[in-house]
Symmetry: C2
Subunit: 205 residues, 2 copies
């Protein structure tokens, strides 16, 4: 027999679905919501409902957007000739927070993963090719994750996009984010693959 | 400028209020909800709203209850002569999960904490005294937390309840949960206060 009331049980079960949240954390969240003023619970419930109603994808780059196009694509100050390809909108947030990038983005909405049956057709690769074919793009930066799926996606994209841009009079440059030792980290803590990549990518000072 | 849409920003801000959830975890939760089918987000939003509408406190013991009385107080199989005093309904869940207790409960809905201006009048202490005065209670087990506030609350309750039960013909026994080394733990990892308590509470084998 559970000592939680039926409605608390329902909330705990719903909260347990959040990533990384187990039964104990879900109980903690549920008790927190229970003890807060009704306005805070209502605000959260409405915020959850609202994103499902209002948030869609940008028609150009598939970033999250409340309107037809995302805030980056609508910004006239961004350099539309440089396109950074990321797996998820989360990647855009990370790059935007770094503050050093002034181009635009293209979100694949995933990465190639044969085990999960995610092939090229399940990603926004065709849409990226269309954008390149329309012209005006000088560089495509592949910024997929540096895990197995991300690396495979980059390799695949590099091959496809080179074939695509080869015959054009103005070739599109395809680049990949540098792999190496993270800043502020000691070499002794770097794993072997990262060290090999850092060696391969060494630059003249 | 934020790259999140306004509605995502709103959800992240709402989720950040959950205990132990920072901006990055809130973003992760928000993206999870965004990518799930609308039914999962709706289920969660409704579960949040529902607890604020349906969950109240048991009129006898102040445990959470969907009706006038909680599931423990309504259970005819529980021993009503033994009352276990806890700070929060969470305490009841923990004790019920252990499965070794067959009495009923009394929830104080907090602990004495002068720094937070929580005094005896802010807790359900008067209600506990009334329950004892009504008779039929043989033992009160003080199961407040073993932190500073919980210990202080137990000391205070012990003094108050002894004064209350003294003149009666059938004296009420006041007990406190044992403090000592947690099961499965090595003595070398126990802190000093716990060790002193374990020594004080040693029992003949």
């Amino acid at each position: 027999m559970s000592v939680l009331t039926a409605s608390m049980e329902g909330l705990v079960n719903a909260l347990k679905k959040l990533p990384g949240v187990g039964p104990r954390t879900a109980e903690r969240f549920a008790f927190y919501l229970l003890t807060q003023p009704a306005s805070i619970a209502q605000e959260m419930a409405q915020a959850i409902l609202k994103i499902k109603q209002t948030v869609g994808f940008c028609k150009t780059c598939f970033n999250l957007a409340d309107e037809d196009h995302c805030t980056v694509c609508r910004d006239p100050g961004r350099d539309k000739s440089v396109v950074c390809v990321v797996e998820h909108p989360r990647g855009i947030i990370a790059i935007e927070k770094s503050g050093g990038y002034k181009g635009v983005y293209h979100v694949l909405l995933g990465a190639l993963s044969p085990l999960d049956a995610i092939g090229p057709k399940d990603l926004k690769i065709q849409e990226l090719k269309e954008r390149i074919k329309q012209g005006g793009i000088k560089e495509v930066i592949l910024a997929t994750d540096s895990d197995l799926e991300g690396e495979a996606t980059s390799l695949y994209l590099g091959k496809e996009l080179r074939a695509l841009s080869a015959p054009a009079s103005a070739p599109v440059q395809i680049t990949r984010l540098a792999a190496g030792i993270p800043m502020g980290s000691a070499i002794e803590y770097a794993d072997q693959v990262t060290l090999i990549r850092a060696m391969e990518g060494r630059r003249a000072l």
